[in-house]
């Protein structure tokens, strides 16, 4: 995949946002959208967890933090803008090799939630498709003991850099509203990060790819307007 400049990335992001929200104008002309008691916007905090982060090699906080702003476009359709922050550290050591990877980053994304037939957004079972743009820093450090006669040598290698990738995912969730204000949702998703390499991605890519392949989340939010 070609490397994009920052300006190109921002441009693409803006275009995606614009496409998403032109639906808003279109939606106003079709069926009546009542939302929940007239409120069509909400903000949620979600905490994601992946099975990969439960591996003993992954240290630190296995949860990622996501803020999602939703707006109901049609009776059974809502769009969202998300921001996520994550940080992982993968430490593996044995007698002869010490390997550390660390990865931190952010993502911004767009998602569309379709609600099951018979339901009205934002209450009930929904199906989501989302795309994210991931960017951040990684560092890798390996220290290996190589046995030679008469003296062993220690070889160290370290690597640092920035990364950026696109990811997409499919999610199933249920959203409920309590006290006419508090939003609660729970769900699970499967996805993929583009450009990590098909065969044996290494280093931070392992973590990133593994993390986005299967995730579960719990979220709480509030209706806005």
């Amino acid at each position: 995949m070609c490397k994009m400049t920052s300006i190109q990335k921002i441009y693409i992001s803006l275009v995606l946002i614009l496409i998403g929200f032109t639906n808003l104008v279109y939606a106003q002309k079709s069926s009546i959208v009542s939302g929940y008691l007239g409120k069509r916007a909400m903000i949620e905090y979600n905490s994601y967890l992946s099975p990969i982060t439960l591996d003993s090699r992954i240290k630190g906080n296995p949860f990622t933090h996501n803020i999602n702003f939703h707006y109901i476009l049609k009776r059974r359709l809502q769009a969202g803008l998300s921001y996520e922050n994550y940080s992982f550290r993968d430490e593996g050591a044995n007698r002869f090799r010490d390997e550390n990877h660390s990865l931190n980053g952010n993502s911004i994304g767009l998602n569309l939630d379709w609600y099951r037939k018979g339901l009205l957004a934002p209450v009930g079972l929904y199906f989501r498709f989302g795309i994210k743009y991931l960017f951040g820093n990684y560092s890798e450090f390996t220290e290996e003991v190589i046995f030679t006669f008469p003296v062993s040598t220690v070889v160290t290698e370290s690597n640092e850099g920035k990364y950026n990738h696109f990811a997409y995912g499919f999610e199933y969730g249920i959203r409920r509203i309590f006290y006419d204000k508090v939003v609660f949702n729970v769900g699970g998703s499967v996805g993929d990060v583009v450009g990590l390499g098909i065969v044996s991605p290494e280093g931070y890519k392992t973590i990133l790819g593994g993390y986005y392949s299967i995730r579960f989340h719990v979220g709480v939010g509030v209706l806005l307007f």
């Binding site: 069926s31 009546i32 929940y36 008691l37 339901l119 009205l120 199933y172 729970v186």
Partner: protein, 757 residues
């Protein structure tokens, strides 16, 4: 002096009836109507015998629950009145019967049900219902007193509860032991038990009756009334000339030659009945009566005039019932019966007009079979009327309705609704027969020499001649009795009904009398303009239907979410809530009642959010001073039921003028009926298994594991109060139980569509 006062009373009576207004409840609403069923249930539970067996206590609890909720449904149905003249009269008679037992009188409440069936029944709670049809048939006050005594005995002996417990016992036996055979019908045992109770009520009722000074002949008189209860209250001949005039006449063969004789079913077999046969009841009663003194006994203790007034009111009131239930034949015949005493009564003419309008509507809509009565199944003179109506061709029925109203237009048109009625019938006429208008002629129908026409030949059929039964021991001992029901009917007992053979008719060539039916008003300018206007409307309807046919199925109907009614204020009637048990087997009565209370609050809160004004009329939520609301609710309920029954057909409701007045009173154009039906659904192993396989929805499976699976339907229907046409209709099944957020969201959505322009 007596003759003078009688004549004066009759004269005043006629005036009073000529301005007849349908009966309404008045005063304060009794506690029975306003107390929540659940409260009554809790109160009655305290009376259960704690020492009784567990199963008996459980059955008693079930009985109390079902009976309280069932009775309250009836009380709030709109069929039951209170503080009306008929109910007050009944209470006065009970005062006479129970003057020595005021404690018992305090335990009882009496209400009248507006239905024509000849019946009365008592409940365990002390509420005794008398059907208006019974009062319409009675001949004197003493007969009513006897029937009331019978019903009071049912209450004092707790027959309703006893029967329920016995039924439970029999049903339980049916499902185990000797009677495990599911085909075994234990209804015989139930019927026998019921008959024992009826006999006991007869006996004890008679004892109570005998303590009063009422005439003893009333007992057999009451049995006579029950015997002929399936007949109208009178039996006068009907002639087609009733509907004819110099312009509109009908074929001779529209007049029935011979009616079906009124017969008495002599079969004494009451094995399949819940009541002993009438002959048996008479014998038992006469056994007691034979030793009683008949002196100083009266048919009327309160007042003969009052009885006749009440009976007459009941007969008039039932005309509304017939109209409401599309029993047009009965409405016309009973109106004709009442015209015997009040030939110029405008109200009766209006009933006939509306009945003819109803018959026309159903006929033109190809729905005549829904209201049809077969004259072969009608006994007595009413058969002639039924035969006449059935013989009418559609165009003749249309013409007859038009003509009848137009003939009376000077009287009718003071009421604006009748102008609408005329316009509607004209429209129906043009829609169906407009093309034949050119055949209609001015002037009177010519005189036709019927003898010159080919006549219908009826083959002499020996099988149709009454068979003579060879005298047997039974028939020898049984004498033919001629009984008189007042001065109205004559019946014979003893023989089987004769069988009728089909009669083959030959085609008759006759002129079409109907084409002279508008002979006098065809040249009328107003009529011509009306016809032209209706023709234009017909063309518009045709175009609209053609355009509609071109639409796809998707676009034919407005979908939920696309309604924009633009209303600022709307009337809401009887917000509905129903909670069902698992898999929707039966209603959960107490939970339903509690949910219903909260549902009204939800409606008001959501309407507030939208700035939509709601006027909620809820029969489950009335205070004792809300009698006006109660009466309004009855009218709207009946009107609403009419609109739902008719579906796509247009027909002005029997009480449309009162509905117009209600719309004006509350300043609304539309009425909303909305509700929720919800229930849990049993999760099956297959549900969980399938969800386990679907990994993508693994948390949906997890969710369902902890959250009950259910289904809910949230519906709404908005009708225009002037035309009765539906303006909005939504029906949303949701695969969840009635969670607060789901119900709130849907209600808001419904009200939003009503408010949005």
């Amino acid at each position: 002096m007596r003759l003078f006062s009688t004549i004066t009373l009759l004269f005043l009576f006629q005036i009073a009836i000529a301005q007849y207004q349908p009966l309404q409840s008045s005063g304060e609403i009794p506690e029975n109507f306003t107390t929540a069923s659940y409260e009554k249930y809790k109160l009655e539970l305290e009376n259960i015998d704690r020492k009784a067996k567990r199963r008996t206590r459980k059955n008693q609890k079930e009985f109390i629950l079902e009976s309280n909720f069932g009775i309250d449904d009836l009380l709030r149905s709109g069929l039951v009145m209170f503080n009306d003249p008929v109910t007050n009269y009944i209470n006065d008679i009970v005062d006479v019967l129970l003057q020595d037992d005021p404690a018992l009188k305090k335990e009882l409440q009496f209400y009248v049900i507006r239905t024509p069936s000849v019946n009365a029944f008592a409940t365990n709670q002390g509420i005794i219902f008398i059907n208006m049809g019974l009062i319409a048939h009675l001949e004197n006050e003493a007969q009513l007193a006897f029937i009331l005594s019978h019903e009071i005995s049912h209450f004092t002996e707790k027959h309703a509860l006893e029967f329920f417990l016995e039924k439970k016992t029999l049903d339980r036996q049916n499902n185990k032991g000797l009677f495990k055979n599911k085909n075994f019908d234990n209804s015989l045992a139930k019927n026998n038990f019921s008959k024992e109770q009826e006999s006991e009520a007869d006996e004890l009722g008679l004892n109570l009756f005998l303590k009063s000074n009422y005439d003893l002949d009333a007992v057999n008189g009451a049995f006579d009334v029950l015997q002929f209860s399936y007949l109208p209250f009178g039996n006068i001949p009907f002639d087609k000339s009733y509907f004819e005039d110099e312009y509109l006449i009908f074929k001779e063969d529209y007049q029935l030659d011979s009616i079906n004789a009124i017969s008495l079913d002599a079969n004494d077999d009451d094995s399949e009945s819940t009541h002993p046969s009438l002959p048996k009841r008479r014998i038992a009663a006469n056994e007691v009566l034979k030793d009683q003194s008949t002196s100083n006994r009266q048919k009327f203790i309160l007042s003969e005039n009052r009885f006749k007034d009440i009976r007459q009111k009941s007969r008039y009131e039932l005309l509304e019932y017939y109209l409401k239930n599309y029993a047009f034949y009965e409405a016309i015949y009973n109106a004709i019966l009442l015209q015997k005493e009040a030939p110029n009564d405008l109200y009766l003419k209006k009933i006939i007009a509306r009945s003819l309008y109803g018959l026309t509507t159903f006929s033109n809509a190809d729905r005549f079979s829904e209201i049809f009565i077969d004259e072969k199944e009608v006994e007595g003179e009413m058969g002639s009327l039924v035969y006449f109506i059935n013989k009418l061709e559609r165009i003749e029925l249309n013409a007859l309705s038009l003509r009848y109203i137009y003939n009376n237009k000077d009287d009718f048109f003071t009421d604006p609704i009748y102008k609408d009625l005329v316009k509607d019938i004209f429209q129906k006429f043009i829609d169906d027969h407009g093309g034949k208008l050119y055949k209609f002629k001015e002037g009177k129908a010519p005189e036709i020499d019927e003898s010159s026409l080919v006549k219908i030949e009826k083959p002499v059929d020996e099988a149709s001649v009454k068979k003579e039964i060879e005298p047997t021991k039974e028939t020898e001992t049984k004498e033919k009795e001629k009984q008189k029901k007042g001065d109205k009917i004559t019946i014979e007992i003893g023989d089987e009904k004769e069988k009728e053979e089909e009669v083959k008719e030959k085609k008759v060539i006759n002129p079409r009398y109907v084409y002279h039916g508008f002979g006098d008003f065809l040249a009328d300018k107003d009529v011509q303009e009306l016809f032209q206007e209706c023709e234009k409307i017909k063309q518009k309807k045709k175009k609209r239907n053609e355009d509609r046919l071109k639409l796809s199925a998707k676009d034919k109907y407005i979908k939920n979410g696309n309604f924009t009614l633009g209303e600022k204020k709307v009337l809401v009637i009887n917000p509905f809530y129903l909670k069902m048990s698992k898999n929707f087997k039966e209603p959960l009565l107490i939970k339903t009642e509690k949910a219903q209370e909260k549902f009204t609050d939800k409606l008001l809160k959501n309407a507030d959010r939208l700035g939509l004004e709601l006027v909620i009329l809820d029969v489950n939520n009335l205070r004792k001073e809300d009698v006006e609301t109660f009466n309004d609710l009855i009218e709207i309920q009946e009107w609403f039921g009419h609109q739902m029954e008719l579906e796509d057909e247009e027909m002005i409701a029997h009480n449309q003028e009162r509905i117009n007045a209600i719309a004006e009173k509350y300043d609304v154009d539309a009425v909303l009926w909305t509700g929720v039906i919800t229930g849990k659904v049993k999760k099956t192993i297959m549900d969980l298994y399938v969800k386990l396989l679907m990994l993508v929805t693994v948390y949906d499976w997890g969710y369902n594991l902890f959250v009950p699976k259910g289904e809910s339907i949230i519906f709404s229907l908005v009708l225009d109060m002037k035309s009765g046409k539906p303006r909005m209709s939504t029906f949303d099944p949701v695969k969840y139980i009635d969670n607060n957020d789901i119900v709130n969201q849907r209600i808001y959505d419904i009200l939003n569509q009503i408010k949005r322009e």
